[in-house]
Every structure is written in structure tokens, then in C-alpha cells.
């Protein structure tokens, strides 16, 4: 029986996709829905891995999904951080400014409706400015990498397991021995 396809290439491709989706401002908002970008990356990894199977190879197993999800998530976390740093260095805090503009609109609307006191609005704005400044610091970048190194592998594994559940090979029909 032939050996299974190499997982590293697939993990690298799906990891880069996860990182790009999570690191590019605007597109990264997809992760605001339960890390959907990372889930889909894990799912895509399983689809790509399945495509590489040829006849005569050992069948795809659920442990492949686990390993592939883990690898994709780790690669994705590094690529996302590198992409964010690159964008931060070249274009400045684009995403943070975008989020800030939305946040300020929401807070101002809340202040107008009276659900938030005006002094708290200023306090919240100061906190947001502080967090934007922190995100541009080296410690903020490493902090972000640390969190994504926990979150992305978890969600990529879940995505890959879901991918296995969807793309798994069908069990061969059970043949009965003639008596």
C-alpha cells in the first residue's frame, strides 16, 4: 500500500490562507463570526488533503484531520501576525482606525440615547486609544501572537474535524461470506 500524501504542503497552503484572511484588514472581520476564517481554513485543508489521495494509498483517517488542523492553525497564527505587522509598518494602524471609527459611532449613539453617561464615553475612548497604541508595540504584537497561537490551532482543528466529517471516504459496503 502506498504512503499517504505529505501533510506539510497542505498545512502550509491552508495556513497561509488562514493568515491572509485573518491579517488583512476588512477581510479579517470574517473572524468576528466565531473565527469563521480559521474554521474554513481547517475545512479547506481537509478538502485539499483529500484531493491528493490516489488509488492504492492508505485511506484518510480522522487523526490526519487532527494533525493537519493543528499544523494549519500554527502556520496561520504566524502568518496572520506577520501580515498584521507588515500592514502596520507599511500603512499604519488601518484596521485599528477602522474599528475605532465604528466604536466611536456606536458609543456616541449610546450616549445620545442616554444608555451610557457622557463621562464614561470619554473613558471608553481613552481606553480604545490606549489599546491601539499597545497593539503597535512589540509586547502587543507578541501578546497577539500568543493568543492566536492558542485560538487558531483550536479552531483549525475543529474545522479540519468538520471537514473530515464532510469529506471522509465512504465506508466500503460490508460483504457477507457465502456459507
Amino acid at each position: 500500500m502506498l504512503e499517504k500524501p505529505n501533510k506539510f504542503r497542505v498545512a502550509l497552503i491552508s495556513g497561509v490562507v488562514i493568515g491572509a484572511v485573518s491579517g488583512i484588514p476588512g477581510i479579517s472581520l470574517i473572524n468576528c463570526c466565531c473565527c469563521a476564517g480559521v474554521w474554513l481554513g481547517g475545512l479547506m485543508a481537509m478538502y485539499l488533503y483529500k484531493q491528493q489521495f490516489a488509488e492504492g494509498m492508505a485511506p484518510m483517517e480522522s487523526s490526519d484531520a487532527l494533525i493537519l488542523g493543528l499544523m494549519s492553525g500554527v502556520v496561520g497564527a504566524f502568518v496572520a501576525t506577520l501580515t498584521s505587522v507588515f500592514i502596520l509598518l507599511v500603512f499604519g494602524p488601518v484596521e485599528a482606525e477602522f474599528v475605532k471609527s465604528i466604536f466611536e459611532k456606536v458609543v456616541e449613539r449610546m450616549a445620545e440615547s442616554g444608555s451610557v453617561p457622557s463621562d464614561l464615553v470619554d473613558q471608553l475612548k481613552d481606553q480604545l486609544d490606549q489599546s491601539i497604541r499597545d497593539s503597535a508595540r512589540v509586547s502587543g504584537i507578541f501578546g497577539s501572537l500568543f493568543i492566536t497561537l492558542i485560538l487558531y490551532p483550536i479552531f483549525a482543528i475543529l474545522g479540519a474535524l468538520l471537514g473530515y466529517a464532510i469529506f471522509r471516504p465512504k465506508a466500503p459496503p460490508q460483504t457477507t461470506q457465502p456459507q
Binding site: C34, S62, L151, L158, A165, R168
Partner: protein, 170 residues
């Protein structure tokens, strides 16, 4: 304790801890603001955390929005009742169509909202999240149990081979 039970228990503890973090973030706002802030930061990369779109506890928003809360908490409840509905060691995975059906209400809610036909509310967001989260354990737990068992078997085999090689060398 069988292997499937061990994997199930570990997974359950992880999911329960995850959900506890979501609830603890608002509950600790006044007593432990630093821990609360850390929890909000931890969940920030996976959710927009918009106040108007979130459920609240003790006057503060949960660490994730209403839809995400629906998904995670229904996932936990579904995982808790899982052993009563299916054998833990069973590798059976439901037909993928059930997953599509569970995802449909959420897709409809989002599409109708984006098209301006029907605005989604906290209730619709939570409900559609619950629909999706409730079916997920039935797709995730069987391959997870199977995967851990396969990896353990491989490790045991490797360990056995190494032991045999060392024994031969001696």
C-alpha cells in the same frame, strides 16, 4: 475509564472552561477588572463584541456576541446530553445534510438582515446560533475520539518498536 470516555471528559472540560470564560468576563468587571479585561481581550479576535448585539450579565456584555453565545452554550448543552443520545465509542457521523439544515436559519437571518428585508434581533441571533451549535458535537466528537485513539495506538506501536530495538541491542 475507556478511551472514548477520557476524550469526551477532556473535551467537555475544555468547552465548559471556554463557556465559563465568556460568562466570567462581565461578572468580574467590578470585582476583578484586570482579569475581566484580559478575558475580553482573549475573546476579542474571535468576536466583534458589540454591546448592542450581545447578551448581558450583571449589567455588562458577555465576552462574545449573542450569536456566538448561542453557538457555544448550545454546543456545551448538546455535549452534556450527547452520551444519552449516542454511544461515545460510536464512529457514526450524521448525514451532512443535517449540518446544512442547522446552518440554514443563521444564513437566512444574515441574508435577510443584509438585504434589509427583516432586521435580525438579539432573539433571532441567539436562536440561529443555538440551532447551529447544537448539532456540531455530533460531527466533531466521533472523529475526535477516533483521532485520539488512532494517535495513541501509533504512539504505543512506536514505543513498542523502540523497546524491542533497545532489547535487541542489549
Amino acid at each position: 475509564m475507556s478511551n472514548s470516555k477520557k476524550v469526551y471528559s477532556a473535551f467537555l472540560v475544555l468547552v465548559a472552561t471556554w463557556c465559563a470564560g465568556i460568562v466570567l468576563a462581565p461578572l468580574l468587571v467590578s470585582s476583578e477588572p484586570r482579569i475581566s479585561s484580559l478575558l475580553y481581550s482573549f475573546y476579542a479576535p474571535i468576536c466583534h463584541q458589540i454591546d448592542g448585539r450581545s447578551l448581558h450579565a450583571d449589567g455588562a456584555k458577555l465576552a462574545v456576541c449573542a450569536r456566538c453565545s448561542g453557538i457555544y452554550f448550545s454546543f456545551l448543552v448538546s455535549l452534556l446530553i450527547y452520551p444519552a443520545l449516542q454511544r461515545l465509542a460510536s464512529p457514526a457521523i450524521p448525514n451532512r445534510w443535517w449540518l446544512s439544515i442547522a446552518l440554514l436559519p443563521m444564513a437566512v437571518d444574515v441574508v435577510l438582515n443584509v438585504m434589509g428585508i427583516h432586521p435580525s434581533s438579539i432573539v433571532t441571533r441567539t436562536f440561529t446560533g443555538i440551532c447551529f451549535g447544537a448539532v456540531l458535537p455530533f460531527y466533531l466528537l466521533p472523529p475526535l475520539v477516533e483521532a485520539v485513539t488512532q494517535l495513541q495506538t501509533r504512539l504505543h506501536l512506536r514505543g513498542g518498536l523502540l523497546y524491542a530495538r533497545k532489547a535487541q541491542q542489549i
